[in-house]
């Protein structure tokens, strides 16, 4: 589980990419992002999330978005990515396998 907070944009989202891809490079193949503390997210961040998802899928892994607030969820929905990412409402809903 990676917890992210604050505002995610073209300036800050590369830190998220580096963190997740660092985990992937360390052999992690299932990553959950706790987004409950994200107050703002733009489409630059979507690009980062897509990059991370593709990398994980190459390893038969998964990326799950947890507790996505309304504003970031709207960004996902309007770009059609809500149908691509696995989104769960809370940590309790994370897949067990």
């Amino acid at each position: 589980m990676v917890t992210i907070a604050g505002e995610l944009d073209l300036h800050s989202s590369p830190q998220l990419r580096d963190r997740v891809l660092g985990l992937v490079n360390d052999g992690v193949d299932r990553v959950a992002l706790d987004m409950s503390g994200v107050g703002f997210m733009d489409s630059s961040t979507l690009g980062v999330l897509v990059t991370c998802l593709k990398r994980l899928r190459e390893r038969d892994g998964a990326l799950v978005l947890v507790s996505v607030p309304a504003s970031p969820m709207k960004v996902l929905t309007l770009t059609g990515l809500d149908r691509v990412f696995e989104v769960v409402g809370s940590i309790d809903e994370l897949p067990t396998s």
Binding site: H11, D42, S43, V84
Partner: protein
């Protein structure tokens, strides 16, 4: 179309993504001041951030970006200049969309009446949203 609104507030941000937060803060503060609904405030913050980010990505704003906001006939008018031209195509596979396609899809979904105007060789992005005006003291 690109007539400047009256009582305009302005901010100029340098050509660096580090200042996207400043653009959002400015637009958000003005929108709250004229009592836009919370969802509209968030949509305008997204507009400012996406428009500036695309301009940085396309390298069209080496001298920075002007953001202007003001009341015009009970509407909040926001202008961003210079604005990128964007990839004016619909998103096919969401996973393979370019950043420009995602940004344009977002902005046109949030603001169907979004205008792009050419003014003195510069592209201006302009949007009008209902505003009640400043809150009384």
């Amino acid at each position: 179309m690109a007539t400047p609104p009256v009582e305009v507030l302005r901010i100029h941000i340098p050509a660096s993504p580090a200042h996207l937060r400043d653009a959002r803060a400015f637009i958000g503060a003005v929108a709250r001041h004229v009592r836009c609904p919370d969802e509209t405030v968030e949509d305008l913050r997204l507009l400012a951030s996406e428009a500036c980010a695309q301009a940085f990505d396309e390298g069209i704003a080496p001298a920075g970006i002007d953001l202007r906001a003001g009341l015009e006939s009970a509407a909040l008018v926001v202008e961003i200049e210079p604005a990128a031209r964007f990839a004016d195509t619909a998103i096919g596979d969401p996973l393979d969309a370019s950043s420009g396609e995602r940004r344009w899809a977002l902005l046109t979904a949030l603001f169907p009446d979004l205008e792009r105007a050419e003014v003195d060789g510069s592209t201006v992005l302009r949007v009008r949203v209902p505003g009640e005006g400043p809150a009384s003291a």
